[in-house]
């Protein structure tokens, strides 16, 4: 969405107008849903999270201070929702890290159930996408979240580093190693 329509949508949302929120959902809904789906690995939870995200948007829109980009603020909320979800579920499947990360225990993504392609809600992922999901679930949580936030939220590495409380160089190094591991996993599947 261009900056002007986005600004108008933000103003309308801040005024409590449903149209403003609907426009924000149109603008970021696809990326948010993609982030949630790749983070939790199934459409049911992704739909739940999108609903919760909508609620947070309505409740917190006036706390956005316009210091940073709106999408980064939105994806910070989304990242917290995913973390809360895993914390509540307390599901800790045993994962084999591909990225060599050392924080599997602390990682919310480490609690993700290893699942195959989810075809509910009429959305059929193709085999490549399903393989990518399986490979993604084998990454340690921090690396996976960093990759997802960079891709879906277009979050700068500086903000990713702040979010995960690490140096900016470390954030990029993790993403670099993570994507390499994903590619390696995908090539193995192709063979």
């Amino acid at each position: 969405m261009d900056s002007e329509p986005l600004s108008n949508a933000l103003s309308a949302a801040r005024a409590g107008q449903a149209d403003g929120f609907a426009a924000l959902l149109d603008a970021y809904g696809r990326r948010l849903y993609g982030y949630f789906y790749r983070a939790v690995g199934n459409h049911h939870d992704a739909e739940d999270l999108l609903g919760e995200m909508s609620l947070r948007l309505v409740r917190n829109i006036n706390s956005y201070n316009e210091q940073g980009r709106l999408e980064h603020w939105i994806f910070r909320i989304a990242a917290n929702l995913v973390r809360d979800r895993f914390r509540r579920k307390k599901v800790r499947p045993k994962l084999h890290s591909l990225s060599g990360g050392d924080d599997e225990q602390a990682s919310p993504a480490a609690m993700l159930p290893a699942r195959g392609p989810d075809v509910d809600n009429g959305l059929m992922l193709d085999e490549t996408s399903a393989q990518l999901q399986r490979a993604l679930e084998k990454l340690d949580e921090t690396t996976r979240e960093m990759i997802l936030l960079r891709h879906f939220g277009e979050m700068p590495f500086k903000e990713i580093a702040e979010l995960f409380d690490c140096p900016i160089g470390t954030a990029l190094a993790k993403v670099h190693r993570g994507i390499k591991a994903l590619r390696g996993q995908m090539e193995t599947c192709d063979d």
């Binding site: 959902l25 809904g29 997802l148």
Partner: protein, 182 residues
């Protein structure tokens, strides 16, 4: 910080939009990372499923309505509380204005209770004093013989009288001649 870490830091800053001049190794890393990040497009899952979109919109709409409802509820609550306070203030005001007339008791229950207790205590004290005075009067009217008389048991007194009569009878019989002949 190692050279590799420094490289990552500088490349990350360039990816974030800072205009830094990179050396050859850093530039190679930057190129590799750009290619990697572009390949992440495979993660996209397409459009939001219709049910998920509808649910999100419904959630937003309900929250917006609920928000207004809760604001309205809050104002109604404040109004009711204010009305209750006003009503209590008016009752107190009118009660203060209403003076007790002749023969009307306008004392609070606690004060009445204290007053009754005080009266009861006074009455009991007065009764005790009167009883003591009565006892003193009776004591002063008694003589020593009255006291002895009162203390001797009536049966003892009867026995003593019988003894006296027997003695008198024996004395009379010793004086009679018929008895002396036997």
């Amino acid at each position: 910080m190692t050279d590799r870490e420094r490289q990552y830091q500088r490349v990350a800053r360039v990816l974030d939009g800072e205009p830094l001049k990179l050396d050859a190794a850093e530039q190679a890393l930057l190129d590799e990372l750009r290619g990697q990040l572009e390949s992440l497009g495979q993660l996209d899952v397409g459009s939001v499923p219709a049910p998920a979109r509808a649910r999100a919109r419904r959630t937003m709409r309900d929250e917006l309505r609920g928000g207004w409802r809760s604001v309205a509820r809050r104002w109604v609550s404040v109004g009711l509380a204010a009305a209750a306070v006003l009503a209590i203030a008016m009752i107190v005001h009118f009660q203060q204005q209403e003076q007790p007339g002749p023969g009307r008791l306008a004392l609070p229950a606690a004060e009445v209770e204290t007053l009754v207790l005080a009266m009861q205590t006074d009455l009991e004290s007065q009764l005790l004093i009167d009883a003591a005075a009565e006892i003193d009067t009776l004591e002063s009217q008694l003589t020593d013989s009255d006291v002895v008389e009162l203390l001797v048991d009536p049966i003892d007194r009867s026995m003593e009288q019988l003894d006296t009569e027997i003695d008198e009878l024996i004395e009379d019989d010793f004086d009679a001649p018929s008895l002396m002949k036997i």
